[in-house]
């Protein structure tokens, strides 16, 4: 073992490549793996433990989540809202990614810059912006008044505003996932379709669209999964009447100090997220999602 270690230290990285019984990769990986286990996995396991032990050892929390109508409604609402946000992101994001990938030049650069900008602008800045836009003294309400439509309807603190806010915040993820797939599509395929007599619409439908489907799946998965556990925007723009899972966790901690129950809700969220990702992994392989 000691000989192997020194050999690995002496030999340059490139030379020992492919060796399976070598200590070097582990020396390089141990710090990060150890840190992640101790400072990430253990805290998560602690949540798991709390969910069945706080205040006493039982599965009562889980039973409540799945039988009490208030809580089953939260689960259903989270699921439906996430689906809706995913669909909206796809519909708005597809044309953006399409133009980014198919048109070169400044249009593509400008779109990419806008997407990157909104990707990196914090959730709170964007959520705050929607509070201004949809607020009772905001531009939408002002437009209502100017057009003589009378007082604007209540736009904030309902499912509408939280859905809109989440769509806006998650749209860049969708666009970037679509774009990553679309820019790899060989333009010659479309030229070939055209030279074989396909009109642009037919070429798009029969060639480009099927080739872009992996991006559609990746983007939808990213948005859906992020939406399931979305916290800031539903809390600030939504309503406690149509709670999402993360709002429920927050409420249980903040108002009721019910750590056991909050932990059980968190575990349900975690399991749901992992289940969705596992299905994806089975068919496509998770590596493709990050790459």
């Amino acid at each position: 073992m000691a000989g192997q270690l020194s050999a690995a230290a002496v030999h340059p990285d490139g030379v020992v490549r492919g060796a399976t019984r070598n200590a070097t990769p582990w020396l390089l990986l141990v710090p990060s793996c150890l840190a992640l286990v101790l400072l990430f996995v253990v805290p998560i396991i602690y949540v798991l433990v709390l969910s069945v032990t706080d205040p006493r050892l039982s599965l009562a929390h889980y039973q409540r989540i799945f039988t009490v109508p208030v809580y089953t409604r939260v689960m259903v609402n989270t699921f439906v809202t996430s689906l809706l946000v995913t669909a909206l992101c796809l519909v708005i994001g597809y044309p953006i990614a399409y133009v980014m990938a198919r048109r070169g030049g400044w249009v593509s650069t400008v779109l990419l810059t806008i997407v990157a900008m909104s990707f990196w602008t914090g959730f709170l800045v964007r959520t705050y912006a929607w509070l201004v836009i949809l607020g009772s003294k905001g531009p939408v309400a002002a437009a209502y008044g100017a057009l003589g439509l009378g007082p604007a309807p209540q736009l904030l603190f309902n499912t509408f505003s939280s859905t809109l806010g989440m769509t806006h915040i998650l749209l860049p993820y969708m666009v970037l996932a679509l774009y990553a797939t679309m820019k790899k599509i060989d333009p010659n395929h479309l030229k070939a379709a055209a030279s074989l007599g396909a009109r642009p619409a037919a070429a798009f439908r029969q060639v480009f669209l099927p080739l872009s489907l992996p991006g559609v799946v990746n983007g939808s998965l990213l948005v859906f999964v992020s939406c399931l556990g979305f916290f800031v925007t539903p809390v600030l723009l939504g309503t406690p009447r149509d709670m999402m899972i993360s709002q429920l966790i927050n409420q249980q901690i903040e108002e009721l100090l019910a750590f056991g129950f909050a932990s059980a809700v968190a575990v349900v969220l975690l399991v749901a997220t992992c289940a969705v990702l596992a299905i994806y992994n089975h068919y496509a392989g998770l590596d493709r999602l990050w790459g």
């Binding site: 340059p12 990285d13 490139g14 399976t20 990769p25 582990w26 020396l27 390089l28 990986l29 710090p31 990060s32 793996c33 840190a35 992640l36 286990v37 400072l39 990430f40 805290p43 602690y46 949540v47 044309p95 953006i96 133009v99 810059t113 990157a116 900008m117 909104s118 990196w120 602008t121 914090g122 959730f123 709170l124 800045v125 705050y128 912006a129 201004v132 607020g135 003294k137 905001g138 002002a142 806006h168 749209l171 860049p172 916290f231 800031v232 809390v235 993360s246 966790i249 901690i253 968190a266 575990v267 969220l269 975690l270 997220t273 992992c274 990702l277 998770l286 590596d287 990050w290 790459g291």
Partner: protein, 256 residues
């Protein structure tokens, strides 16, 4: 061309809400009124003299710097080990490294709330730094391992066959080529901590209020117009960051 119109409308939907914070920051209104009734620089002056806002700003910077350092110390060796070697359990290691990205932040936040609370680290800069350092691991790992995969190892072989030792090769060949990619990785780690809200809200307590946590609380409790000032400054920082990362990427593409 209708697709172009749809794309530009979509881009407008992405951009306009962000830009609305800029005129808001110069507004004289006490609440969130738009269009602003008048313009002044008063809230900028208030921001730059208000302990209540400057302290979270400083906290955010300190935490993000600490978290980035921690992340890079863990990720750079890990990326070398992961990309350059084959070993048993590789996919498990990959899953472990990606875990902070897979687990919803609200679950991580709850986990740290309980775990760091036991260690008496909630409400401390160190606690938030450690949590953010872990959450940034997958972000930095993706960027740096991608850079490493694109690295031509013949450069190292050439250096060594010309008589350079492994250390000199690493310092004079490997590192300079990888530097732009590593800087992008570090920048992503920094931004992921700087923007992170959920974990910070749960574990920041009174002692480690970050900027997103402060914004969250002041949106919930009052409509403090200084939020518009902070938002504008953050948007400006993001514009700068995006331009810098584009520049670095172009350079790294140039080298590779």
């Amino acid at each position: 061309m209708p697709v172009l119109v749809l794309a530009l409308l979509g881009a407008l939907f992405l951009l306009a809400p962000i830009l609305i914070v800029v005129p808001m920051s110069f507004s004289t209104a006490i609440s969130f009124a738009f269009p602003p009734p008048g313009y002044w620089l008063g809230y900028y002056a208030k921001y730059f003299t208000s302990e209540e806002w400057l302290e979270p700003t400083l906290n955010s910077v300190v935490i993000a710097l600490g978290a980035t350092t921690l992340t890079m110390l863990l990720v750079v060796p890990a990326a070398f080990g992961y990309v350059r070697y084959r070993f048993r359990g590789k996919s498990l290691v990959n899953l472990l490294i990606m875990a902070p990205l897979i687990v919803p932040h609200v679950v991580s936040a709850l986990a740290y709330y309980g775990f760091l609370g036991r260690a008496k680290l909630t409400g401390t800069l160190l606690g938030v730094m450690v949590a953010h350092g872990m959450l940034a691991v997958p972000v930095a790992f993706l960027v740096i391992s991608a850079t490493l995969k694109g690295f031509d190892q013949n450069l190292e072989r050439a250096a060594m066959s010309s008589g350079a030792g492994p250390f000199r090769t690493f310092v004079h060949v490997t590192l300079p080529v990888l530097r732009p990619g590593m800087l992008v990785g570090a920048l992503f780690a920094f931004l992921s901590s700087f923007n992170e809200a959920v974990v910070a809200i749960f574990i920041g307590g009174r002692g480690a209020v970050t900027l997103p946590k402060k914004m969250y609380e002041s949106i919930r409790l009052e409509s403090d117009p200084i939020i518009a000032v902070v938002s504008t400054l953050l948007v400006s920082a993001v514009v700068l960051g995006v331009l810098v990362s584009m520049f670095l990427r172009r350079r790294s593409a140039h080298v590779a």
